[in-house]
Symmetry: C2
């Protein structure tokens, strides 16, 4: 059995010579504690599936404040209890939350949020990706998130990378309440950027969604409601007793460590690679996230 | 239930006004017969899983002739019978074919093929993508395939887009025989381009691989051999009796229809979109492929 495509060949070859640059995985594993930022428990959406599996989403209030406030209110109102995952389209999205029309919206949910498809660039400290982007004038990272941005227009937007979570909506001017969400499970559908409110990303358990059976109807909807995947409970991290609450950290994208990681992703240097690309696209250099060490 | 993220809003709104440009899906659905090219049955690798599901791969002899010749010889020698899918790594690859060391290579298989990681640009008619690429000086399409290329160096390579199939190898100078293969099931890992022989793409049944349970060991290997997914039979299309043989066609990437499709992918214009991107990346404009109409 060939152990190909190793993320780090270090396991194969033992200790690397000291002059050798670290691989991206090594940079992340050896990052100093100072570059890790705790994720606020109010920014964690913890989704327990009927099967017992758990999916954890980090919310992005800096980019879609009204939609994120809605999602928090929906979670606190136990709105998703009894809802399901009802759409799984290969190389595209998993979608859940079919409670609209069945259950009244909890108090505090804004029925028609503004179109939070981009925000002001001002107030963000952006680290440029350093390579061209096909969907925005520039691309980079800000506040621990990948962004497309337009320095001339003064706007920035979250991007549809793998695992990123957006708000289902009908045709414009509808923007969606946040009650129906989807996560990307394929090649980044970046054409959706700036057309939908991106509200966060799956930071644990994406494989519980991406490995679900694909729906056989148009757009990946399940044919029968019996195929729907039950969601037993969705809570904010802050609603979970501290002792049981999962805790995560995200790497500071303005740190020198992140800069080294990004360089490493663009110039793979472990023994498997014979030709480093000398470039990388935004969604192929995901922001490192980890469980907070206890 | 919100019918969001429609590939074509035409189903919702009925007939579009005549002056409206066609969506990419409409362009493909209405493409004239003259733009479709039959795929040679010798270029089809038909893989039947133990579960009864089928995965069909189109081989790319123009790009990796020795590896493809090996794969044909392995198929004719029933080499994969009794092998398995033994690795499923989320947002990365599915890998199969663990027969090496168990079964002698059939006659005609070259044990150490050359490094077919790129080919001469000469002989290819390339349609440029028209947007920047982060992994090659230029990107485009040639002979029905997405390619990175370097006009100065005179080279072109197949790219690791979703569903693309590469040859597992050990550390260089090993290039792999073709006996162990992988398919991409996540965001395009383009950093592997020009480091591995890409030999084709899954053209039907990728969802049978992408929805498999993820392996829990490092790099997505299954923990126990009992989790491996049995492969019952792998044949060339040409080995299957004509009446039962699946037949496919690929769109001519030099056709005006493909050019219109590519423009449409870069400028989504159905009613769902409020801001077309004005750009697209190579792996987000996949070459249209269809079952040959009977």
């Amino acid at each position: 059995m060939r152990a190909l495509l190793l993320l780090s060949a270090a396991v194969l070859i033992g200790a690397a010579p000291p002059q050798k640059p670290k691989t991206p995985s090594e940079i992340v594993a050896q990052a100093p504690a100072s570059v890790w930022r705790d994720i606020d428990p109010d920014d964690l959406l913890v989704m327990d599936l009927g099967s017992g599996g758990r999916v954890v989403i980090q919310l992005a209030p800096e980019f879609a404040p009204v939609h994120v406030a809605n999602i928090r209110a929906l979670a606190k109102g136990s709105w998703w209890t009894g809802s399901t995952i009802y759409r799984v389209q290969d190389n595209y999205v998993v979608q859940w939350g079919n409670n609209e029309g069945k259950k009244p919206l909890p108090t505090g949910v804004v029925a028609k949020p503004p179109a939070e498809y981009h925000r002001a660039l001002k107030g963000l400290t952006v680290r440029p990706l350093g390579y061209p982007d096909d969907y925005a004038p520039q691309a980079g990272y800000a506040s621990g998130w990948p962004v497309g941005y337009d320095a001339k227009a003064g706007t920035a937007n979250l991007t549809h990378c793998y695992g990123y979570v957006g708000v289902g909506r009908d045709l414009s001017p509808d923007t969606g309440t946040g009650g129906e969400l989807y996560a990307v499970i394929g090649h980044a559908p970046r054409h959706l950027d700036r057309n939908i409110a991106v509200v966060g990303r799956v930071i644990e358990g994406i494989e519980r969604m991406s490995s679900l059976p694909r729906g056989t109807e148009a757009l990946g909807f399940y044919k029968s409601e019996r195929q729907n995947v039950p969601i037993s409970m969705v809570r904010l991290g802050s609603e979970i007793p501290a002792a049981e609450r999962p805790a995560f950290q995200v790497m500071d994208t303005n740190s020198a460590t992140f800069a080294a990681y990004l360089r490493g992703r663009a110039n793979r240097n472990d023994d498997f690679f014979i030709r480093p690309a000398g470039g990388v696209d935004l969604c192929n250099a995901p922001v490192p996230i980890r469980r907070k060490p206890s």
